[in-house]
Symmetry: C2
Subunit: 199 residues, 2 copies
């Protein structure tokens, strides 16, 4: 807060609402969260939340946006994915880095929880993944089966996240990054550039 | 119902309560489900539900039990997992068969939803998987890294289920069983018997 006690600026307020929304959705789920509760957590008037974001569904879409842009982050990771390349390992390391960061893990968990629970949230995630993640794979990999390859990679990564960070099943929950890279790296690399048996 | 209008027997009542519980948990989640609602859905007195299953948590544990016993189903699938074996493919086909069956998919979805949402349910699932599934792997595979191998397999299968049956991401959601076997079979086989890079 500034010395004069002025209200925070537009950008600060918007960010405060987004942060509060993420916390509320993560804690109470989509149905259990109200605009009123988010406004209270952000210390603003509910009307202001509506003003910035419209309906709860729009605020949710804004709140679950990842802390990075896949269309910026992915291309350098996917580049030059030729035989013997380590793009699989690089993507895995980035993915583990996201989940090992407390704040990011909370956001990702909120996304997973909502998608598993609500058809509308699953549809939202499906649209986001198709446009932002798979679309980037398609533009970067430039093979006719890039969409399928992207979803194969995604299916292994989300399964790893659920097993390790949600169900916390041993020994996967406590395996070292090196062990995970040794086990999953070749899988992801094959999904990216190897023979997946489909013509 | 018998001609004389007798109440159904003990086994029928128990089964009716379990079926109702599965429906209620699947639709309303763990917190949103009451013993009273389950009793109403089963057409019995709430006291009878308590009598058969005790607390809600115990009823939940009974309700989410899989429609088969991993310790009976898995060993024949895992047997003789030598080089070039197709245990990976066989496990995948069994898994897809479960998810492609409407009633079973509903049960499995309820388990996944609860585990992703509630730490208590995740702990319950963790215990179940460790005892029943991973335990069976350990007894059947008989290698020192059987536990890790079991969780690697599980992480790919759960990720496939989430991507295909929950998020329904194309083209994975509509891929044929043959395509899935071609893509995932080698992954699962490597996790079971191949080099996973860990000593």
């Amino acid at each position: 807060m500034s010395p004069a006690g002025r209200r925070p600026g537009k950008t600060d307020t918007r960010q405060a609402i987004l942060d509060a929304a993420r916390d509320c959705f993560a804690e109470s789920g989509y149905d259990g969260t109200t605009i009123r509760a988010i406004a209270a957590a952000a210390g603003v008037d509910p009307a202001l939340v509506h003003h910035f974001f419209g309906a709860k569904s729009e605020l949710f879409a804004a709140a679950v946006s990842l802390p990075f842009s896949p269309r910026e982050v992915l291309p350098p990771l996917l580049e030059a994915t030729g035989e013997g390349d380590d793009a699989g390992e690089r993507i895995l390391r980035m993915f583990l880095g996201l989940w090992d960061d407390d704040a990011t893990r909370r956001r990702l968990l909120a996304v997973v929880r909502s998608a598993v629970r609500y058809d509308a949230a699953a549809a939202m995630l499906r649209t986001f993944l198709s446009r932002e993640v798979i679309g980037t794979f398609v533009r970067t990999l430039d093979t006719p089966d890039a969409e399928l390859r992207a979803t194969l990679v995604g299916s292994q990564l989300i399964g790893l996240a659920i097993a390790r960070y949600v169900v916390k099943i041993p020994p996967l929950a406590t395996a070292s990054t090196a062990d995970l890279v040794a086990a999953y790296g070749p899988t992801l690399q094959r999904y990216l550039t190897g023979n997946i048996g489909i013509v």
